[in-house]
């Protein structure tokens, strides 16, 4: 609304996802790995094990090269990317939490310095000082996580901040503590998992088993604790948000399944490796890292998916529109945009008035400001294919968009703007779709999928079947020709008479034995 939308052809959402997931996978290692280094070093001195010290030198080089370079730069990269993709939300976060970021920066600075001194210090420092630098490293790395965790969880559960605008209300929000525990436990397990990479190159098999057993001891307990923390985390997420992982939203459900499977696989692999430590080679260590990566990836994706339609819960939608109208919304709230029109409100649209000849171009601009933050036209989460699969023509699309906030249990913000603007949007969406490409449905279930399934489920608990199972044919016809008369939350769909005929036969028979 306020800022130009950077039109990334393959999807800005995908770009953010890639950068943040790779960053997270390394930055968590940077925290847990720090503790791993100091405790392993202490163990080595205590047991007078010079072989272990030798391996640690190699491992710490790997650690620093990965975390200080790749970890740090992708961290800056996330900043660059979110500022490019969602400037309004970035600006809000920075205004609310700039001192949090500033504090994090102090820790970051100390962390990087300590990491380098630790690496170069093998040659210069006595044992005690070296460990001491290692502790500074770990503490500052951990504290950066403590700070950044407040801001990330704030986006999902903004707590009382929306009313109070108080820093601490936003920072210590409902998911703050469980998320911190999840992240820390995961970071400890990553410490052990990444270690397998340098371990796999050890020649002496007795020593190799020894280090590998020690490293895997960092993995197994964390993976036992993780489900407990995850349960705690979920308990603090508002039920409405979490519903979407329960089959109501395809992506979130998919990732919820993935995370359970891959967490289990990672745990089992770690267990197997524990008993065959001398067999660990590079391939095996990469394999378990990949399964851990998928686990982490799923966690971040679930968080991102259930946060939708918001970018900052209860404050700002993914497309930068404020959820509530207020004196400070600058006209960028749903309510005000409905009054003034989206083209007039959004600063970065070149068309302000729709005419017949510019309707498609206007629609493209509307798509850009309202939908592009989560979709593309025909790539990542492409709308074109969804319309084709659903068999929605221009008219159905426009009607559906008028109630878009109910689709998939509220994963999208409401459409904001005039009816004419919504129609332009549909014109644009259908400009490259021919009628013959649209899927055609002739069965009752097919028509249910076409017209109703974006908001309803094929299940006996769904209100559709409360009302229509066992109903008279005439009753069904009556409802289907006037959905809005039945409930105004529904779009004004008008299936043609052939379709209604089929549905009149189909609906009353569903779940007939259960209702």
């Amino acid at each position: 609304m306020n800022y130009p939308v950077w039109d990334v052809s393959f999807g800005s959402g995908l770009l953010i996802a890639i950068i943040s997931v790779v960053h997270v996978f390394v930055s968590h290692f940077a925290v847990g790995g720090g503790l791993f280094l100091v405790l392993t070093e202490r163990k080595a001195y205590k047991e007078n094990n010079s072989q272990l010290v030798g391996w640690l030198k190699t491992h710490s080089k790997f650690f620093v090269l990965l975390t200080v370079v790749f970890g740090a730069i992708t961290g800056v990269g996330i900043w660059f990317t979110i500022a490019l993709v969602n400037p309004s939300a970035t600006s809000a976060l920075i205004h609310a939490f700039v001192w949090g970021w500033a504090i994090e920066w102090v820790f970051f600075f100390l962390e990087i310095t300590a990491a380098l001194l630790y690496l170069y210090g093998w040659k210069r420092l006595d044992k005690q000082t070296h460990i001491w630098i290692g502790w500074i490293y770990f503490l500052t790395a951990f504290l950066s996580m403590v700070v950044i965790n407040g801001i990330i969880t704030f986006m999902l559960t903004s707590g009382n901040w929306v009313e109070s605008k108080n820093f601490w209300d936003g920072f210590f929000n409902p998911t703050y503590w469980p998320s911190l525990f999840i992240r820390f436990a995961f970071s400890l397990s990553l410490a052990g998992l990444y270690a397998l990479i340098t371990i796999s190159r050890i020649k002496d098999s007795v020593f190799k088993s020894f280090v590998a057993k020690w490293s895997l001891k960092w993995v197994l307990p964390s993976f036992i604790l993780l489900p407990i923390f995850a349960y705690w985390y979920v308990a603090n997420i508002p039920v409405e948000l979490f519903q979407s992982t329960n089959g109501l939203m395809a992506t979130a459900t998919q990732y919820a399944t993935l995370i359970s499977i891959f967490a289990l696989i990672t745990f089992l692999l770690a267990l197997v490796y524990y008993f065959f430590t001398s067999k660990i080679n590079l391939l095996f260590s990469l394999l378990i890292l990949i399964t851990a990566f998928v686990t982490m990836w799923s966690f971040e994706f679930i968080r991102e998916s259930i946060r939708k339609p918001y970018v900052i819960a209860n404050y700002m939608y993914g497309n930068s529109i404020y959820t509530e109208s207020s004196d400070f919304d600058q006209g960028f709230s749903i309510e005000k945009i409905n009054e003034n029109g989206i083209l007039n409100t959004a600063k970065w649209t070149s068309i302000k008035k729709i005419k017949k000849e510019n309707s498609i171009q206007a629609g493209e601009e509307i798509f850009r400001v309202e939908c592009l933050s989560c979709h593309t036209y025909d790539a990542y989460r492409g709308v074109r294919n969804r319309l084709i699969d659903r068999g929605w023509d221009k008219n159905i699309t426009s009607q559906m968009i008028s109630r878009i906030e109910h689709m998939q249990k509220g994963i999208m913000p409401p459409f904001a703007g005039f009816e004419s603007e919504r129609e332009s949007l549909s014109d644009y969406l259908h400009n490259n779709i021919s009628q013959s490409e649209l899927s055609a449905f002739k069965s009752g279930k097919g028509l249910f999928d076409k017209y109703c399934q974006v908001c309803h489920q094929y299940s006996s608990d769904d209100p559709v079947f409360f009302v229509l199972t066992g109903a008279d044919r005439e009753e069904v016809e009556y409802y289907l020709t006037d959905l809005q008369g039945m409930n105004d939350l529904m779009p004004n769909l008008v299936p043609n008479s052939k379709e209604i005929e089929i549905m009149m036969d189909w609906f009353p028979k569903q779940f007939i034995n259960q209702n």
Binding site: D7, H95, W99, I103, K123, K347
Partner: protein, 368 residues
């Protein structure tokens, strides 16, 4: 398209501290960042030259490997010190900065990729610097090139940020972010101004290395001071030409900022100019002294002064460009005293800890 209506509105959330504090922090952290950046930028170029000359001359060979070992650390410093001004810039100039970044989206994103390449390149050089491998020269060149390019992209973004009148034509021609700000005629002089400064500072850094080696390897130290001093003096002399060119090519209104219109900016300009002249003179003459160390110290202090005042000028220039659109009085402020207090406490404590760590690290090795 009307310029005023296209400029994004100020974020409705109040500033969590007074405007001046952000400005102060922005300038202070920017100076620190720019010093580290100059050392990497200038240092990598000088390292390449030293590598070429090192085939026949041992001093150059040594200089190359000394620089190569330090480049990754200074790049780390550049990045960590750069994060802070980037943060404070977003607080007070977000409307302009986010917009120009989005308009040049892809080049701006490319910075991250270039940085990763440059960084790993420098590490390869640092770890294998002394080996006689012909690929190392190419890797160094590639890394330097990445740094040069990053600087150029920054210049593009920061000039575009200050000129909202060019935004809409660029954006609407290509909303996919494949833009630069090449039609900005001050871009090249401005960029050259930064490049020349970086080379000068890189040269001075070499001379400072010489000062540190004075006690242990006097001949090598003398070589460093002479060689570095020369780079510094020539580059800074050239800078007078580039800088004046940049000044007169600026739009009249912006040029006048430094010619009396804005007293603060004008004084900064005069101070910077005098200090720069002073530093050239002192450093050049000290390279001829028996013991040049004192001269280098004084010259370096003067140069830091130049960088501080140049950074102030840079800021005044931005405000002059934006004067029609930007009014800091419009910011709402609700200072978060408690969090600010924690930050200042940690900031000062952090500096103390940082100095302490370095002190411990650099004291004589002591193995038990």
């Amino acid at each position: 398209m009307d310029i005023q209506t296209i400029i994004p509105s100020v974020d409705p959330i109040s500033l969590p501290a007074p405007y001046w504090l952000f400005k102060l922090l922005l300038i202070v952290t920017f100076v620190l960042h720019i010093i580290a950046m100059n050392i990497v930028f200038g240092g990598s170029i000088i390292a390449y030259v030293a590598k070429l000359k090192g085939k026949t001359n041992d001093n150059f060979k040594k200089l190359y490997s000394d620089l190569a070992k330090k480049l990754p650390t200074f790049l780390a410093a550049t990045i960590t010190l750069g994060v802070a001004p980037l943060l404070f810039l977003q607080v007070i100039y977000g409307q302009y900065f986010y917009t120009s970044s989005a308009i040049i989206g892809w080049p701006w994103f490319l910075v991250i990729i270039l940085l990763i390449i440059a960084y790993y390149g420098f590490y390869i050089i640092a770890f294998k610097g002394s080996e006689n491998n012909k690929y190392l020269g190419w890797i160094l060149l590639l890394s330097s090139f990445c740094i040069v390019l990053i600087g150029f992209i920054y210049s593009n973004n920061l000039t575009l940020m200050s000129t909202p009148q060019f935004w809409s034509q660029k954006y609407f021609r290509d909303p996919t972010g494949m833009n630069l700000n090449l039609n900005e005629y001050t871009l090249i002089p401005r960029y050259l101004h930064f490049v020349t400064a970086a080379i000068a500072v890189g040269g001075l850094f070499v001379a400072i290395l010489g000062v540190f080696k004075w006690g242990t390897e006097k001949d090598y130290a003398k070589f460093l001071i002479n060689f570095g001093g020369k780079w510094f003096t020539y580059a800074t002399m050239l800078q007078f030409v580039v800088g004046i060119l940049y000044l007169i090519i600026l739009p009249k209104e912006q040029m006048m900022t430094f010619m009396g219109e804005n007293i603060f900016a004008t004084v900064s300009f005069l101070v910077a100019l005098t200090a720069a002249l002073g530093s050239i003179f002192i450093i050049f003459s000290s390279t001829k002294n028996e013991d040049p160390r004192k001269g280098i110290y004084i010259g370096t202090s003067l140069l830091v002064l130049v960088l501080v005042f140049m950074s102030i000028m840079r800021d005044s220039l931005r405000d002059s460009y934006l004067s029609e659109y930007f009014n800091p009085d419009l910011f709402l402020t609700a200072t978060q005293w408690d969090v600010l207090g924690i930050f200042l406490f940690l900031f000062l404590g952090g500096i103390a800890l940082w100095i302490f760590m370095l002190k411990v690290y650099f004291r004589k090795p002591n193995f038990n």
